[in-house]
């Protein structure tokens, strides 16, 4: 049962395309398993459809349709399929990752502190985005911290808790700079999350402060 969802503002920005690449993929992982958020995004996309339908049209260039038709003809004459997508290296991280991440590169687990490991997630067309998998052993308490910019953490396995509640598989924790928390991974087992921060700022959030040196910050 999913208890923690992205905010409406985040889903709105997902729908209008202004959410940054890192947060976007983390929200996509959540939405892939959350019918309620998928429906909400559908509604916000319908806002876009309605705006598109009703907008005062601009003038297209002369011959625009002919140009597109010519490209269609050229594409159909050219039977050679598009170049296969670049395959990024994928390490085995011990769990089955959501389908949304199929085209992403997945780095091997690396130690960053007692009981904490991370793996870099590389987006197919945006290798600058700060997205990572995090794995924390059962019962581990993390340092108290705040955030700079929104941080998005989606639980893939296990659970953690802080003063705001308990986050289990399928939950997305959206923490802004007003959240100060000290998450503890629950005793039942290790916790694996996918996380991203907003902004080109350095990682300072949930696990980010621990990881920051590894991103060259």
């Amino acid at each position: 049962m999913i208890k923690h969802h992205p905010s409406d503002e985040t889903l709105f920005r997902y729908a209008n395309g202004s959410l940054e690449p890192g947060p976007r993929i983390v929200v996509a992982v959540h939405v892939g398993g959350c019918a309620a958020c998928a429906a909400r995004i559908g509604e916000f996309e319908a806002v876009g459809g309605s705006l598109l339908h009703d907008i005062e049209p601009d003038q297209m260039d002369a011959g625009a349709l002919d140009g597109v038709m010519a490209r269609i003809e050229a594409d159909e004459a050219d039977h050679a399929a598009a170049a296969p997508a670049r395959r990024l290296p994928r390490a085995d991280v011990g769990i089955r990752l959501p389908q949304v991440l199929d085209d992403c590169g997945i780095g091997p687990w690396r130690w960053i502190g007692p009981g904490v490991r991370w793996s870099r997630v590389t987006l197919p067309d945006d290798d600058g985005a700060n997205v990572m998998l995090l794995k924390v052993v059962a019962g581990r308490r993390l340092p108290e911290h705040t955030h700079v910019g929104n941080e998005y953490t989606h639980v893939l396995k296990g659970s953690f808790s802080d003063a705001r509640g308990r986050y289990g598989p399928g939950d997305l924790d959206e923490a802004d700079d007003e959240v100060q928390h000290q998450p503890i991974v629950d005793k039942e087992g290790e916790c694996i999350c996918i996380a991203a921060v907003e902004g080109q700022t350095k990682l300072r959030g949930f696990f980010g402060r621990l990881i920051q040196p590894l991103f060259g910050g």
Binding site: N16, P21, D61, M69
Partner: protein, 218 residues
Amino acid sequence: MNASGHLFIADKAFLAFDFAKTGLAVTMRKDQEVLSAQQASRLLMAVAAKRDRAAFAVLFGFYAPRLKAFLRRSGMTGSVAEDVAQETMLLVWKKASYFDPARAGASTWIFTIARNARIDRLRRDGRPAAIAEAFDPSDQPDEPVSGEQAMIVAQREERVRTALALLPPEQADILKKSFFGEETQSEIAEASGIALGTVKSRVRLALGRLRQILDDLK
């Protein structure tokens, strides 16, 4: 080309269009400037099923000028908006088989393709942008849709329209404007002489109200 240029192309397309095959109502007049959701859906399905160029030309005549306007509102210059509008229509042709009227209305589906094309363009231009393919409903393989779900989706577009109409005008206005993106939010702030933070909290309030209305309409 003069102001009637794209209408002329659309005219030709309407004349050439095989109404009988696609079941389009013959009441569609050749000077019609508005496509209904049902008409647009049928045209898309004709493109998907038969690679119907005349149907595509009608869609182009209606959507391309609107896509260009939409993309300009989102902050693109005229020539880039023109280019991305054309690119979007090319993708509409290529992806037409993914269109499923039980999942989204034609305008909504075309909007999502334009959104992703815009994201791709911004990324290619080296500006921070979102990843387009992460979760793209326009691109999803067709899993079976239950009858109930199909009905919910069919009603969604209408519900959203109704909800936008029921929002207090200033809230509807700020939502529509902010839909075009972050840059637009700064412009709203500048134009109305209020702080960006205030614009953001008004957007938040308007979204809360929209959610309430949408849920009441279910």
